[in-house]
Subunit: 409 residues, 2 copies
C-alpha cells in the first residue's frame, strides 16, 4: 500500500464530466489499496478568465489582490471534486493552501514555499478522508493569500508529497508524458519512459510546459519520484527520477523551444566595474528573472550588454534598464521579442564532447544565425530568430537521432 | 467624520463597469471625510452558477464542500473592487471572512456568527486602507470555511458595523429602499423613508427580500442604524432604526408576500402528549425552520398536524415527517406547495385593535380562503392559495390605505 499524491491539471478538471472522471481515477487508486492525497488546478480557462476581469479594471492589477482573486479558481475545483467523491461514497475534504499549512514568502503572484506543517493534512488522511488540496496557493507570514506562479500546483503537489513522505507524486495532465520534443512541432517526437531530474529541470526551465521548474527542483532535492501521465489514458507516462537508475546514457534526451523570451540590449555602457551589476541588481530586485546575458567586446571604453527576460516582464525590464542607463550614462535601450530559445538537453553530454559543435553546425547548415548561446553541464541553448523555430527543432531532432532511437533505456 | 460600513449586493457589483461605479461611490464617501469599510456580495449570477456546477455533480452536495465552493464568489468581488480602488489611487485591501476574524458555528451553508475579533480590520483601517470584506462567510472552530446563508453578506455588514462601532451601515442594493409592498406586484407601492427594526424584521422574515432577517436582528440588538439605498441613485433610501424616533405610528407600514412556503400535513396523528414535540424536534434538528403550525381538532383520538417550511426544505421535511409518522403510528403525509403567505406589518397594531378582523374580511370580500393564520404583536400572516397572490396584495394595499397615505412620518 503506497501513499501517492495525485495532481490534476486544468484540462483534467476542465468540465463537470472531467471532474467526475478524475473522481473515478482517484476511486480506482484507492481500491488498489493506496492512500491518496489529491492536488487540483483551476478548471482550464478559469485563471485566464479571472486575469481578464482584473485587467479590464487595471492594466497592472495590485498583486496582493490578484492573488486573492486567482486563488479562488483552485478552491472551486477542490470543492467540486470533493463533492464528486462524496457522491460516489468516498469521503473527501477540500483543503486550501492555508489549511494544509503551506507557508510562503510575501512575494505576491510568485511566492515561494517556506514551510509546510502537514499535521492537518495527515489528520485528514488518518480520519479516512481523501484530502483534495487547492493547488497554486499558500499563506504569507502576514496572513495574506499568496500564489506560486503559473503551474504552481505542480509545486504544491511535489512539496506536499515530500511533507507527507509520499512514495510517489503523480502529475496527471493532458499529454502522455515527457517527449523528445513538442509533438505539435515535431511529428516524429517520441514519449520518454524515463527522464532524470536534471534533464527534466532543464526541459521545464527551457519551455517544455509539462512541469513547473520549481516542482522539479523540489523533487530532485528530496528525491521524490514523479510520474507525468495522462488523465485520459492508461499509459504509465514518464517517470522522473534519479539518474543512477538508468543503465546507459544517451547524449540528447530532448529538444525544447522557448517562445517566452525577449531580448533587451543596453547600448554604449561605459566599461567600468560595477555598472553591469547595478543593471542586473535593479532588474532582479523586481523579481524579474534574467536568463541569458552577453556583453559585447568593448570599443572606445563602451560595451553593449544584451540579456533575455520572460516576454511578460519585457516592458517592465525595459523601463528599469532605461532608468539605469540614464543614471550610468549609457546609450539607448532596445527590445527585440521576435526571438526563441532552442535547447538540447541530455545527461550524456557530460561524457560526450563535441555536442555543442554538432548543434551549431546543424543550425549553420540550415542558414540559422545564432544570436546568443548559453550552456550548462547537460544542456546547450541558442537564441535564434523566431521565424526559424520550426526548421531548427526538426533539424536538431533528426540530427541527434531522436526521430528513431530507443527512448532512453 | 463618520465611520460607515457600506455593503454592495450582487447586482451592484454584477459587472466590471458596475464594480468601477462602486469604486466611485466609495471614493466620494471618502472625499466627504468618512472612514469606510466595504462588504461585498458575489457578482450577480455567480452564486447560482456555482450551485449549478455542484448540482450537476450531486443532487445534494456535501455542505462543507458547498461552503468552500460558494465562498469563492465573494472573494473574487472583493479582490476586483480592491483592484478598482487601487487603480484610482485609493489604497484598499480585500479581506476574507477569516481575515476579519468572523468566527461562526459549524452549521455549514447557514452558519451563525459567534464572535468577531476586528483587530486586523481596525489595523487595516488605521493603516489608511479601505478594507473590502468578502461577505457571506466566516470560519468555524474547526477552521473550516462556513457561509451564512443566502443574503448573508447583509449580516456580515451589520455585524462588522457593530464590531468596529460604526456610525451607520449602508446597504446598497438595486431598489430605492423599503416599500409598502413589492412594486412589481403593486404598482401603487411607495418607498418608506423610515421603518422600525421590528417592522423591518417582520418584513424581512416574511419575504421582503431587501435585507436578510438576521442582519436586522443584529442591527436591532445593537441599535445600529441601517440605511437601505440604491447603488444607482442619489435617493437617500430608507432608514431602518429605532421606533422612538418616529412621532406617530401608522397602523400598517407594509404588506409582504412570501412565495417560499410549502405546507406539510401529517394526518391522523394519535392525540397523545409528546408526539407533536417529537415531530418538530426531528425536523428542527436538521436545521429546517418551521414557520406556521396548526393542529386540527381531534376526532376519534386522531388529529391532523399541518405546518409550513421553506420550499427548498420541503422534500427533506416530508421525508423526516414520514419517518416520524410511521414511528408514531400516524397516517399519510401530504405536501402542498402552491401556496403563499401574505402578511401585514406595522408597529401601530400594538395600539389598534381590529386590524386582524379588517384583514380577514378584506380577504373574504374577495372570496379568498384562509388556510392558516399566525400573528405577532406587529404582524398578521395568512396562508392562502398561490393563485390569489396578486389579488390579495392589491386588495390589502388599498384596504390599509397604503396607496395614498404619507409614508410613515
Amino acid at each position: 500500500m503506497a501513499l501517492i499524491v495525485q495532481k490534476f491539471g486544468g484540462t483534467s478538471v476542465g468540465s463537470i464530466d472531467r471532474i467526475k472522471n478524475v473522481a473515478n481515477i482517484v476511486r480506482k487508486s484507492r481500491e488498489m489499496g493506496h492512500r491518496i492525497v489529491v492536488v487540483v488546478s483551476a478548471m482550464s480557462g478559469e485563471t485566464d478568465r479571472l486575469v481578464r476581469l482584473a485587467q479590464e479594471i487595471s492594466p497592472e492589477p495590485n498583486e496582493r489582490e490578484l492573488d486573492m482573486l486567482l486563488s479562488s479558481g483552485e478552491r472551486v475545483t477542490s470543492a467540486l471534486l470533493a463533492i464528486a467523491l462524496n457522491e460516489i461514497d468516498i469521503p473527501a475534504r477540500s483543503m486550501t493552501g492555508r489549511q494544509v499549512g503551506i507557508r510562503t514568502d510575501n512575494v505576491h503572484t510568485r511566492a515561494r514555499i517556506e514551510s509546510i506543517s502537514a499535521d492537518r493534512l495527515l489528520e485528514t488522511l488518518e480520519g479516512g478522508f481523501i484530502p483534495i488540496v487547492a493547488g497554486f496557493q499558500g499563506i504569507s507570514s502576514e496572513e495574506n493569500v499568496t500564489t506560486l506562479g503559473r503551474g504552481g500546483s505542480d509545486t504544491t503537489a511535489v512539496a506536499l508529497a515530500v511533507a507527507v513522505k509520499a512514495d510517489r507524486c503523480d502529475i496527471y495532465t493532458d499529454v502522455l508524458g515527457v517527449y523528445t520534443a513538442d509533438p505539435n512541432l515535431v511529428p516524429k517526437a517520441r514519449k520518454l519512459d524515463w527522464v532524470s531530474y536534471e534533464e527534466m529541470l532543464e526541459m521545464a526551465s527551457l519551455g517544455a510546459k509539462v512541469l513547473q521548474t520549481r516542482s522539479v527542483e523540489f523533487a530532485m532535492k528530496y528525491k521524490m519520484p514523479v510520474r507525468v501521465r495522462s488523465t485520459f489514458s492508461e499509459d504509465p507516462g514518464t517517470l522522473v527520477t534519479e539518474e543512477e537508475k538508468r543503465m546507459e546514457h544517451i547524449v540528447v534526451s530532448g529538444i525544447t523551444l522557448d517562445r517566452n523570451q525577449a531580448k533587451i540590449t543596453v547600448q554604449d555602457v561605459p566599461d567600468k566595474p560595477g555598472l553591469a551589476a547595478r543593471l542586473f541588481e535593479t532588474i532582479s530586485n523586481q523579481s524579474i528573472i534574467v536568463d541569458m546575458i552577453v556583453q559585447n567586446v568593448g570599443q572606445d571604453g563602451l560595451t553593449d550588454i544584451s540579456f533575455t527576460v520572460p516576454r511578460s516582464d519585457a516592458r517592465k525590464a525595459e523601463r528599469l534598464a532605461t532608468t539605469v542607463a540614464t543614471e550610468i550614462g549609457a546609450g539607448e535601450v532596445r527590445i527585440k521579442d521576435d526571438i526563441v530559445k532552442i535547447s538540447i538537453v541530455g545527461v550524456g553530454m557530460r561524457s560526450h564532447s563535441g555536442v555543442a559543435a554538432q548543434m551549431f553546425s546543424a543550425l549553420a547548415r540550415e542558414g540559422i544565425n545564432i544570436l546568443m548561446i548559453s550552456t550548462s553541464e547537460i544542456k546547450i541553448s541558442c537564441l535564434i530568430d523566431e521565424k526559424y523555430s520550426d526548421l531548427s527543432i526538426k533539424s536538431l531532432h533528426a540530427e541527434f537521432r531522436l526521430d528513431t532511437k530507443g527512448d532512453g533505456s
